[in-house]
Symmetry: C2
Subunit: 367 residues, 2 copies
Amino acid sequence: DISTLDYKTSHTSHTFPGLINIGAFVPRLVEPGSVDFFEVTKASTSAGFTTIQILPYGTDGSILNEESLSAAQANATGAAHCDYLMSVAASPSNIAEITEDLQAETKALFIPSTNLTDRNVNAVTALAAHFASWPSDKPIITDAKATDLGSVLLLASLHSRSVHIMNVTTRDDLLLIALSKEKKLKVTCDVSIYSLFFTREKFPGSTCLPSAEDQAALWKNIHVVDVFTIGSTPYQLALELGKEAKAWSGIEEAMPLLLSAVGEGRLTLDDIRQRLHDNPIRIFDIPEQAHIQVEVVVNRRAPLSRALDGWSPLDGKMVSGGIHRVVVQGQTAFLDGMTYSLPIGRDVTAGVVPARAVDRRASFSVV
Amino acid sequence: DISTLDYKTSHTSHTFPGLINIGAFVPRLVEPGSVDFFEVTKASTSAGFTTIQILPYGTDGSILNEESLSAAQANATGAAHCDYLMSVAASPSNIAEITEDLQAETKALFIPSTNLTDRNVNAVTALAAHFASWPSDKPIITDAKATDLGSVLLLASLHSRSVHIMNVTTRDDLLLIALSKEKKLKVTCDVSIYSLFFTREKFPGSTCLPSAEDQAALWKNIHVVDVFTIGSTPYQLALELGKEAKAWSGIEEAMPLLLSAVGEGRLTLDDIRQRLHDNPIRIFDIPEQAHIQVEVVVNRRAPLSRALDGWSPLDGKMVSGGIHRVVVQGQTAFLDGMTYSLPIGRDVTAGVVPARAVDRRASFSVV
Ligand SMILES: [Zn+2]
Ligand SMILES: [Zn+2]
Ligand SMILES: [Zn+2]
Ligand SMILES: [Zn+2]
Ligand SMILES: [Zn+2]
Ligand SMILES: [Zn+2]
Ligand SMILES: [Zn+2]
Ligand SMILES: [Zn+2]
């Protein structure tokens, strides 16, 4: 870690590598002509997230087959400001549609908990079929909770394969994951950044947030948490509270929240790097990005500076850290609240893509 | 197998060893002065079940601690017509009450699904604690279903211990068990005998029975089913249909139903022996009873002969087999519909108890 202390203001600046959000929610995901890929990826780059893994479900439909994947790909092509990975959702009925071609074009199989709690379908049997047919070297992700989580972990155990649990919100689920790790099950997990800072008690009417008691357990067992994500929680929270939900909800709040926790001594900069860079790369085999710097500042107390509109739980609140500058391949993509990024994000689902010619890149530069 | 064919009537008689019902429901289990132990055990002996494992929950309460166990033991002592084993129920809050003494006095830990579906408690964490503290050489039984079943199997897998799944009613659950067996998990299961012969479609309003489709799957995968039980299904069915539920509901129907299936070629006599004798003894380490003969008849079509009152789903129906005679230590306990059994059942929870002196036994004989 290279940190410099600014003696005039006694704040600390620090440079991270390109950060990764493995749970990027794109509301209008498969709708033809949707600009949400543009919005989400632009906000992501400005917030330091230069690679994002797209959640395969939106408000308008899910990626369940070739057709819906193509629709999402079409929305992303030429519109993405950061690198992205595509994933596919498992449903009780789409096992036959997840062809080898579709597997090759997606990074992870996502098992939404909503598809598990439909007691009218043979959910566990369908799940078992997905576990049996999804390639063993590619990740399976689920946001299953409570006893549904038990079923997923059982299938992972029976098939001796790894599984990543997304958006853990309860003490119970985290302890089951801890127990499973202890017993050498190949399980990893993440929590939504909002779940670490906001509670049901603070926002009555919300169901996507943990209770204060569960949140305390997440912090107490933060060593069990491999990854931080943005997830769909910010969007859901806005909806649940009757506020304006935006494609970029929760993205620019992510690092200011985490860096404020660093200021309070609840996290270290290294904790953040592990959970937004090292572990995502290791767990999901995400290509390392070269020549990216995310310059942040810590211990500088100020109201959250926002570049985007829409409701935020941090509106009018003080934070003590944030993004100063994002540099992508020598070009400043974000600086002091202003975005200069370009729609040059690549689909890195299948691994590293050839480097862009520097002259082609330069011709797009507006900085 | 020693079978004799009666040439006059062309029915077959066959002798089984003492049969075992590992899921005996005693409605008023812990109520002081309850006569249900007397009723259930008398009906069991007459029906060929000379050893029964008592389910630790009744309509009036459960065996959850020393006090409730003592209440049940007091009801059984001197009243039981067949040998019996006691078990204890796990609740999210009784982990500390399951003392070493209580463990020694009970055969199995039963995890009722109702205690798993209370989403207000940290059910999986409580369950994990029970799995960690129940002696590894004693059985754990559960009637968990769907994703709850997944959680239980996961804990069994994580703790490398065996678990018995009681009262499987769906294709989905049976296939998850089959998959677990295939993957070398130490899991066994039973189905309630009523679930093999009655359906929700046949008795609209019932929820304890399988659907016709699920029932077909139970039959198709009958090789996965280790044990048949009577369970609480007959009692529940009567309640759900607004009929008279009795302590003995479903007991005298058990063997006529199974033997009718033998007559139809859906089961063999050996299938029954395995699931009501060999496997229960092996799975639950139940003491073998000497000098017991259960003589049955197959292929003799007649209306069900009933010695007991109360509603039966077989009322007015034909069956093609039944119990002819039950002989316990040389004494006829049941013959041609008449019961001669005595309240000499022993608590065999802890294993074999010393044989009764023959002269003491003889002095009770009324045959
Ligand atoms: Zn540093
Ligand atoms: Zn394709
Ligand atoms: Zn790196
Ligand atoms: Zn500056
Ligand atoms: Zn025979
Ligand atoms: Zn005692
Ligand atoms: Zn035997
Ligand atoms: Zn006779």
